[in-house]
Amino acid sequence: MAEMLMKGNEAIGEAAVMAGCRYFFGYPITPQSELPHYMVKRLAEVGGVFLQAESETSAINMCYGAAGAGARVMTSSSSPGISLKLEGISYMAGAELPAVIVNIMRGGPGLGNIQPAQSDYFQATKGGGHGDYNLIVLAPASVQEIVDLTIDAFELADKYRNPVMILGDGVLGQMMEPVEIRELKVNIPEKPWATTGATGRKPNLINSIYIAPEPCEEHNLRLQVKFRQMARENVRYEDYRTDDAEILVVAYGTSARIAKGAIDRAREQGIRVGLVRPVSLWPFPYEHLAEVAQKVTAVLVVEMSAGQMIEDVRLALNGSKPVDFYGRLGGMLPVTSEILREIEKLAKGGRSNG
């Protein structure tokens, strides 16, 4: 066990190797490039395969092939690249293939910029690709949490035979923090369904086509049972100073870290404010949020987007409390003083920008 100072992007790579991932297929895009840079060296040390594909589309399809062949596999990208991967992600969900997909979000839409953003929440949690499918979406807020969630992501992907997404942003990818690197005892489950060559057994098939509607509906219903199980078993969140809170802030990832600073400063002024930080964005902690919100008078959602997670917060609260919003767009970060100002408005009985 050792403590190391690592960049978020590198920490994802090290955590993947710790989790037994030996195959990485990627394509360069800022601000996640340190991850492939790290993986090309690290996978060589452990006898793995790093392959730079000709496009994000190819990279995700290489993941499809490798996952279908039974390997623990990862790809990473940033917003525009994830848009390109969505076709493959839908196919992987349809063919029930495990993989970890990293999105270090940047400003959009379109080419946008390379600054940190959280504007891919809808894309990550509401499908993104075509068809009825869900991904477990995990949103770390520190480099250590990146390590822990990345390791968990590989376990969950194999457990459910479904892709899992790590949703970070440019700040998390680029910042350095101490992390604990430890030897893990990895037990990769047997994959009797994988295409390894039909030696002494019936052929295996990795597939998402069901041409007749009846079997396709059956396949979908079976997937839905799995998605509901995934939803039940994987709700994760962090509560911060919520015990006596009258005002509740809801934020994830980098926004949540900034919001904590604002909450501490508001507390110094005697404002009773706390934070619920969803760690799993899908499944979203609807019930927990509703429970915490019972005791508060106002809710403020903070995001680095025009307001996407706020829709899930409103669903959770189901009209029981006013939900206000503060967001910065296009790669701009909310700062502590801005969030504090919004909290102060709510504390005086006013409304935020929402």
């Binding site: 000709e54 589309t57 990279a59 499809y64 490798a66 295409t195 098939l205 990795i206 086509i209």
Partner: protein, 255 residues
């Protein structure tokens, strides 16, 4: 009694769904015979396309992955990198490989990916209803070129084998046809080479197989084989475009 002819073990025996006169069935059989002869049925993983042959996995008695449109070479790359000792092949049509999957095939070849590609070229999109393909001949009528492919606005057909044979990573590239028994025997030889090459570590191998589509060409199956010989072969000449260097030649000094 000695059995002199039987169904290859690499075929499941499920009747093909292909249209009368379509040559997919012949090509499936040639691939299956090759896999049987090389004794690799239990160590081969196929990757299927999107198009008429999307259900190839139902006919081939071996492990299969079904890929999205055009991405079979990327999927095969993933499989091969995980199982470098196994034989991995893709089976793709001309819409799949030469249009939407152009990037994937070019870069799999450029990397010298040790996979075998069976590329079935019938100069048209079959399953979706006979549309213009990148391989459709100039003047050829399709549902999206109803008065014939217009070179001015719809460009010229892509010669995939010639194009890929310019890449250093390509180890073996051949174009064959299955419109008559003589050519079927030649096609079989090329397919066998393309699989054997993979087993001996030669890089990327591709066999382009000129194929018929009587339904979408609007021709009787027999007319279709004649049309292929008279029209496709002049534009898509048969032969080996790239062969791996023989060991003796490789050792020869460069002049």
């Amino acid at each position: 009694m000695v059995k002199v002819f039987e169904r290859p073990k690499s075929l499941t025996g499920k009747p093909f769904h292909y249209c009368p006169g379509c040559t997919h069935g012949i090509i499936h059989r040639l691939v299956a015979e090759t896999i049987d002869e090389l004794g690799i049925r239990e160590t081969t993983i196929g990757v299927g396309p999107v198009g008429c042959s999307v259900f190839i996995f139902e006919y081939m008695n071996l492990d299969f992955q079904q890929a999205s449109h055009g991405r079979a070479p990327a999927v095969a790359t993933g499989v091969k990198r995980v199982h470098p000792g196994k034989t991995v092949f893709t089976y793709q049509g001309d819409g799949d490989l030469a249009a939407i999957g152009t990037a994937e095939i070019v870069h799999a070849a450029a990397r010298g990916e040790r996979i075998t590609v069976i590329f079935v070229n019938n100069a048209i999109y079959g399953m979706t209803g006979g549309q213009l393909a990148p391989t459709t001949l100039v003047g050829m009528e399709t549902t999206t070129s109803p008065v014939g492919r217009n070179q001015e606005t719809q460009g010229s057909p892509v010669r995939v084998s010639e194009m890929l044979s310019t890449l250093d990573g390509a180890g073996y590239i051949a174009r064959v046809s299955v419109h008559d028994p003589k050519h079927i025997i030649q096609a079989k030889k090329a397919i066998r080479k393309a699989f054997a090459n993979q087993m001996s570590g030669v890089g990327f191998s591709l066999v382009e197989v000129l194929s018929t589509c009587p339904t979408n060409w609007g021709l009787h199956p027999i007319e279709a084989t004649k049309w292929l010989a008279d029209n496709l072969i002049p534009y898509y000449p048969l032969g080996e475009f790239k062969v791996p260097p023989a060991p003796a030649k490789a050792e020869r000094e460069v002049e």
